[in-house]
Amino acid sequence: MRKNKLGVVSKIYLALIFLFLYIPIGVMIFMSFNSGRNVTVWKGFSLKWYDALFKSKELMSALGNTLLIAVLASLLATVLGTAAAIGIQNFKNKPRAVIQNISNLPIISPDIVMGVSLMLLFSFLGVLFHFQMGFVTVLLSHICFCVPFVVLNVTPRLRRMDRNIYDAALDLGCNQWQAFYKVVLHELSPGIFSGMLISFTYSMDDVVITHFTRGVKFHNLSTRIFEMLRKEVRPTVNALSALLFVTILLILVLINVYERRAEKRAAKR
């Protein structure tokens, strides 16, 4: 396609879209420095809501839970999903299609339906085995919606992989585990990595499924924000959003810069 310079109209259009995307976030961050209690009326500059945020045990432990769940869910989902993708590949066409379709169900079904259905399952099992919903049920639910993304990311890599290199590794004296570890996992690693990254971000972002499977006592950041928004809103929420936004921005910019450097290095070779 021809890469000619964009016209003025195009540039204005993109600028308007960017404004639409960033004005709400900008206003929200601006209000986090408000010294008043109200999130709309500006009363002067203050950092007290940041102070309040770091002193809030509720929010800090919720943040800890969010990170813990995201790390565990993405790791476990990656193991389960990678193994599954390799196994599924060995089925014949028809059963493979059936398994893949069932695997995609959590992606296509609405979050709320999945949340509600898992809640039904866990409350039923809870009565049967005398347990209550909490950390474990939230973790299990997060794994549920993460695994399909891992399978979807690993499968294309697996299809492109030359099966002979595994046999070659065996012929050259690797045992099955070494061949698997050194050859197969190495070949699949970009797919595994992007599956894990997607899992992590989905787990961090989830509200609905956590809301239905958390039981009574367990809270993560999403469910705390959920409660705060329903009750009285204080600028602590703004301070929290501002910090999250800056963290995400930094991580994404760093990843982007790193990728570009890698591309440049690859181009030089």
Partner: protein, 265 residues
Amino acid sequence: MKSKKLSIPYILWMLVFTMIPIVMIGLTAFRDKSGAFSPEPMMKAFGTEYRGVLLHSLWIALLSTAICLLLAYPVAYLLTRMKPSTQNTVQLIIMIPMWMNFLLRIYAWKILLQKDGALDMALSLLGIHGTYIGNTAAVVVGMVYEYLPFMVLPIFTVMSKIDGNLIEAAQDLGSNDFAVFRKVIFPLSIPGVISGITMVFVPSASTFLVAEHLGGIDDKMIGDVIDQIFLTDQNVGSALSMILMILILVFLIIMNLFGDEEAIA
């Protein structure tokens, strides 16, 4: 490596955490509170009380999807005409808000649109007064904000894969820019449009909390209703979930007839 064994844990997992929960929703939807078989929850779910909510949800989702498409299509097209490095940056700019928590994005709009909020203040200076929150338009704006990147990315992905030779051929054969767009780029971008529509419509039809925080009393959506009713009546809640699920499946099947499945993944 060549055995199916590695997939056994996941197959068992899907049985317990995907299949059984769906069956449970189905079973709960056809039972009354005592646990006996009864068509009553389904009858209730189809009754007038919820029909309006369901239609309103679909209407909001349709409107949001249409606006997303109108806004996103030019963005995707402009993206294809940029240098690769600019493409990356612009894509990043569009994606960053998506990485914020879903609730915080709604909250951001809530403070922006509130009475005496930033928008109200700015427009008051110009002498315009009005309420911007608590109506269907606010819900649609929130929805568009939540899901716009889901529309931009698939359309851009498909468009950027269009063979440049086709465009050159069209130009050589005397097409001007508009004709190239109408006869080559637009038809070839349809699969992206279809997966974009799917990725926006499905979550916006079933979402909850957006309407609760940005909409008025009449702007209840099916997701909000399912959330509330599950506290008191799991049977009707399951029946509503089943109806929602079936509607979404029907929608996906229709969309699949238009486009090929590959583009969605």
